[in-house]
Symmetry: C2
Subunit: 248 residues, 2 copies
């Protein structure tokens, strides 16, 4: 069966208090089983997860990191405020967030918002996805699945890609344990991060900059079974431990 | 415009010498501008990039790594033979390949092939993509774009995702330098690894194990401009240097 990808076009600039679910449902006739990908920046603007840069008083650590990274110390303070652990503090600030995501600048961004404002990631991205899902059910009567996306760099490969930071109505990981291959062998590779694969393509369809497509609908996708342990624990992630040691 | 994703269903088990481009063109009516994603494993089987495990004589380093990682030393020798540099040799073997890709076990795999055989990555994945592209032009008269995909782990996040190892008819990176956001600000985030975002979703549609869908067609995708420097140089990649130091 063919999968259809529908860019949600025609959303205005989002302001605090906007009902995103109803606005999206009015633009695309959603169906049961659709997967809706939504850019975290748009969710955060609608829900007021923003900060005026001028209101931030940087502490000593933020000033030190700002000097070392060549960044505004108020921006660095906002990143520290969003973070539970600093992995490296130069040449860029890479931290872990409460929900498990590891990212440069904790996903704090200054794009597509008024001058002097910062957009933060939603503090509980899975709850954000739940909220959008229930909003779509109320507005359109459709039982959709939802992924909240962000854009993020990675190791070894240049360029950012879309990733999932929150999801609802699906598991993050597809688990193949016990499945067999075409020759009947039990698979050794057993876990596929399908929410990230979907979020990445959504990011491609959204585009950066001024295309103005912060939401994308996926129709006729396969369903899967698995679990939600998307993030490595600190003690099992070789890269995380190597970076911390390197940064000491 | 809606994007359509068409799984290529009905391919038989691929054998050395099979004309993959003609076989795919016979199953899906391809159109100019389509993006065809093809699993590297299937390309390698058609082109004989495989090795019988029993024929491999492990050297001292492969035997040492096999002991430390709990792996077959012949498999470790095959990985070393594919690699230009070892980044870490425990708890798993992570290496760099000649074309720039960094991956665990250098992408050498034992899934979906007869017992005792290893599938290697195509030695020149961009040339592989070129070959498929020209094969499609000959078989179907369509000017398609091609991505050769593999499945690969990553830092910080559990689960593998599809990535691009070769591409033809497009650039790997979409470059936004000089573009402005919705508020007219010049973008700081300028490079998006679109081939990986497309390869990831293709991997989701292919599925692992026994679904038997090693090729996926993307229709009506946006076009983009950019460059092909998908891989960080050794000296600019923090993770690579941190891992090497950690492993010493």
């Amino acid at each position: 069966m063919r999968i259809e990808i529908i860019p949600v076009e025609g959303l205005p600039l989002i302001r605090k208090g906007d009902d995103l679910a109803a606005m999206i449902a009015a633009l695309v006739p959603l169906q049961d089983g659709d997967i809706l990908c939504l850019a975290s920046s748009v969710y955060s603007k609608a829900h007021g997860h923003t900060r005026p840069l001028a209101s931030i008083e940087p502490g000593e650590r933020a000033r030190d990191i700002g000097r070392r990274c060549g960044e505004d110390p108020r921006f660095m303070q906002a990143v520290l405020d969003e973070s539970t652990e600093v992995l490296i503090d130069h040449p860029f600030l890479l931290t872990c967030l409460a929900h498990g995501h590891v990212g440069v600048r904790a996903g704090v961004d200054q794009s597509n918002i008024e001058d002097g404002q910062l957009i933060l990631l939603p503090p509980d991205p899975n709850a954000a996805a739940d909220g959008i899902r229930h909003g779509i059910a109320s507005a359109a009567g459709a039982d959709v699945r939802v992924i909240i996306t962000d854009t993020c760099g990675r190791s070894f490969r240049r360029g950012q890609t879309g990733i999932a930071i929150g999801w609802s109505g699906m598991t993050a990981i597809q688990d193949y344990r016990g499945d067999t291959d075409l020759f009947g062998h039990v698979l050794k590779i057993t876990e596929e991060a399908v929410v990230d694969e979907i979020a990445g393509f959504a990011n491609f369809v959204m585009g950066e900059s001024n295309r103005g497509v912060p939401a994308v609908v996926f129709r006729n996708c396969p369903v899967w079974k698995g679990h939600d342990s998307l993030y490595f624990n600190a003690d099992e992630d070789i890269t995380r431990n190597a970076l911390k040691k390197w940064n000491e």
